[in-house]
């Protein structure tokens, strides 16, 4: 039992973990009060010593999480409405966590592409119904501000606008075009370069 306990330290909210020192960094699920670090979630204490002469104390909660998109997160969203100036989206996935309820996202015209920002047309980049990958820049009062100004971000799944009942997702044929394999119609989109998993692993 004692050997097992060394690996997993269970803590509950309000439990004192350790005193604050210069080389100890607060991680997820902790807060500082009166010179001590306390847990704010129930879970397993994690001490990460990988950093240079500093330790990260965090609490990992097994099971469910309530996730809220944070600045810098890559999110998956569905385009709902497009206007000349912005596109409204519904965020339904943060990183790899599927959300219970969708959050509002706003993608402005300036944030669609990295280069040639003034030549961007929203209607040439997105259509309602597209599934896009985007990064959260900021949280505004009522919605999250998104950007797709990266090669890896943009439209992932899209259907041709004249598609009938059995819809087939379009295939990217370039950086700004997608083609329907059935009707061979080409439509403009801001296409995301989705990296194959194998190449991501190689980078790591």
């Amino acid at each position: 039992m004692s050997g097992q306990e060394d690996e997993t330290i269970v803590c509950l909210p309000g439990e004192r973990l350790c005193p604050t020192e210069d080389n100890i960094v607060l991680g997820v699920g902790t807060y500082e009060q009166n010179g001590y670090i306390y847990a704010s979630k129930s879970g397993i204490v994690n001490i990460d010593e990988s950093g240079e002469n500093c330790q990260i104390v965090s609490v990992h909660k097994p099971g469910f999480h309530l996730t809220i998109p944070a600045t810098g997160d890559v999110v998956t969203a569905r385009v709902l409405v497009t206007t000349p100036k912005f596109a409204k989206c519904a965020i339904f996935c943060v990183r790899n966590v599927l959300l219970e309820s969708s959050y509002r996202g706003l993608l402005r015209k300036e944030d669609v592409r990295e280069t040639e920002k003034d030549r961007v047309d929203i209607y040439k980049s997105f259509k309602p119904g597209d599934v896009i990958l985007a990064r959260v820049i900021n949280q505004m009062e009522q919605s999250f501000l998104l950007t797709t100004a990266e090669n890896e971000l943009g439209v992932v799944i899209a259907y041709a606008s004249d598609a009938r009942k059995n819809r087939v997702p379009m295939v990217p044929v370039g950086w700004s075009e997608m083609q329907c394999p059935q009707t061979t119609i080409k439509e403009p989109r801001k296409v995301a370069k989705v990296l194959p998993e194998s190449s991501i692993n190689d980078v790591k």
């Binding site: 704010s40 129930s42 009522q142 990217p172």
Partner: protein
Amino acid sequence: MLRVTQVKNSLLDGASIAEELYSTPQDGDNFFESLEKPAKEPENLAPRNTFIRAGVVTTVRGSAYMEYGNTKVLAIVSPPKELIRASARRMNMGVLNCYVNFAAFATGELESVPERERLLSSMLTKAMEPVVCRTEFLNFQLDVRVLILDDDGCLLSTAINCCGVALVESGISTYDLITASTACIYRDHVFLNPSAKMEELLWKHRTGTGTSTGSDSKDNTSTKSVQEHGLIITASLDTFEQIAQCQQCGYLSPETYMKLMDYTLAINKSLRQLVKGVLTARVREQHELDLREKAESALEDQRLAEVIERLKLRGLDEFIQSNIKEDPYVKKQ
């Protein structure tokens, strides 16, 4: 863990007994006589038989069920919602809303239900606000719903306890574990964790109809003009020795007030141990599930890696890569 007293709740037994609840003050006297009176100074500062379980509702991420004696309560935490502009108060903290609802069969008196629901909701919200780290979900609104399945007194304190467990279960950051308990004094008898009938009696007394009981006992207590009677609900956060909420009604002298509060705090301490035990067991249980899931997904990953490897041998990888062309705009530079 299961320590439930299987006493039939008389409140549920139909109209004949519901009428007993509406007893006139005189009947109240009779009722008080029939009550089992605790000692003037309670020695055993223990909570009622309690059963708590986290994660009872599988469709929601944070839920808890609690039985406190015959009082049965279910709490659900729904995912944070965005604030609508109309209701968005300009503040640098998230908004917490608690809703209390009675199940249709929980109580006999249906007329007073909406009012009680509103009262309990607002008090519960006030009690829970200090516990939740509201800075972590700015511009969001967190809804906690409580369903009362059975009412046998101590409703608010049970609801607070149950909500506390549900919040921790849902993974929302909280500063501490919150526990609450109720104590009341009536005719010099201290009742810990008063039952619904006791609360009803106090309520009658408080609303003025109790004057007859006052006059009745005038002879005994001629020295005291008004008899002490009242109810205290205390919710505490024990790590920092803080009190999240202290609600009091009735007439109490400062000494009695402090005495009752000490009693409730002592009960809170022992309840806290119980809640801790439940949550620790829950974390261990979830952790084991997680480990098992991880092992399964590792196996799946291995299988997929083998598939990809096989595809690579056939040269399909290049096909995938060649399909993605370079960004024309980047190329120009």
